[in-house]
Subunit: 158 residues, 2 copies
C-alpha cells in the first residue's frame, strides 16, 4: 500500500481540527510532519479530484475539507490515493493454454470470487470508519491534541 495513504489521512485529520474557515497550503501541511511538500501536494491533488478536498489557488489559498469529517470515510481516502480497482487482479489464466476447456465459461473464476469476498470485508470495514471517528479517538487519548495542532498552524511562519 502506498505511503501516501498515511500522509493523506493524517492531513485530513489536521484539516478537520483546523476547521474549514481558512485554506491550508500543502507546504504547511507538509511542514507539520517534515514531509516532501511537492509530493504531499500530489496526494492532496488526488484527494481534491476525488471530491474529498477543495483547493484554492493563489495567496491565502490551499486545501480544506470538502465536507464535514463525519462524511469522509477511510475508504474514500484510500480509494482516492490507491485507486478504485481491486488489489487482486484476476487475469483469467484459467483460459490460457491448452488447459482451457474451450468454452469461455460464464461461470465466474472461483478464486477471484473468494479474493473479492475478502476484499469486500476490508472495504466495508474501511467504509465504516470516518475521519471524525479517528479524530475523536485521538482526542480521547490526548484531549490537547486538536489545540496543539491549531496552535502550530497559527504560530509557525514556515
Amino acid at each position: 500500500m502506498n505511503e501516501g495513504v498515511e500522509w493523506a489521512v493524517h492531513s485530513c485529520l489536521n484539516l478537520a481540527w483546523l476547521g474549514d474557515e481558512r485554506a491550508v497550503p500543502a507546504a504547511k501541511l507538509a511542514g507539520f510532519y517534515e514531509l516532501p511538500a511537492a509530493y504531499l501536494n500530489k496526494q492532496l491533488q488526488a484527494l481534491a479530484r476525488a471530491g474529498i478536498l477543495t483547493s484554492t489557488s493563489g495567496p491565502r489559498g490551499g486545501f480544506r475539507l470538502a465536507r464535514p469529517p463525519e462524511k469522509i470515510t477511510l475508504m474514500d481516502v484510500v480509494a482516492a490515493i490507491e485507486g478504485e480497482e481491486e488489489a487482486f487482479r484476476c487475469t483469467e489464466i484459467r483460459h490460457r493454454g491448452g488447459s482451457d476447456s474451450g468454452v469461455r465459461s460464464k461461470t465466474p473464476c472461483e478464486i477471484h470470487t473468494s479474493m473479492r469476498k475478502a476484499e469486500l470485508a476490508w472495504r466495508r470495514e474501511l467504509a465504516s470508519q470516518t475521519i471524525a471517528d479517528i479524530a475523536s479517538s485521538v482526542e480521547g487519548h490526548s484531549s490537547a491534541a486538536p489545540e496543539r495542532v491549531r496552535r502550530w498552524f497559527d504560530d509557525t511562519r514556515t
Copy 2:
C-alpha cells in the same frame, strides 16, 4: 497485490486435484496455463518455504501439497507470496517534525489501529476459505474439471 498469488492459488488447486501420489514439476504446472516456468518456480519455492508445498529434486521430482487441501487457507498462500507484514505500514510520521509533543506517547497511532482493523477483517475472511472449499465450488459449476486436469497432466509430454 502480486500477480504470483493468482498463479500460486491456481497451482495449489491443480495439485489438490492431482493428489499427492506423484510430484509435479514447476515446468508442467506452468505449461498448464502457459506461464513463464522459471518465475512460477520462484513462487512455488516461496510456498515450499512456507510449508505449504514439499519439493523434491531430480527426475520424477517436483512439488506436491504438504498437507490436505482442507488445511490450506487462502491466507496461508497469500502470506507465503506477499509476506506477513501488513499492507499499511505506519511510519509514525506523527512523531516527526516540530509538531511532535515530545512525549513518545505510548498511545497507539489511531490511524494505524483503524487500518489494522480493516486488514484483520480481510485476513479473517481469507483464513476462512480453504483450497478444498474453492475446489469444491469449481466442481459444483463444472464437475468435469478435476478429471480434465488429471487427463491433461497425464497425457501431455511437455
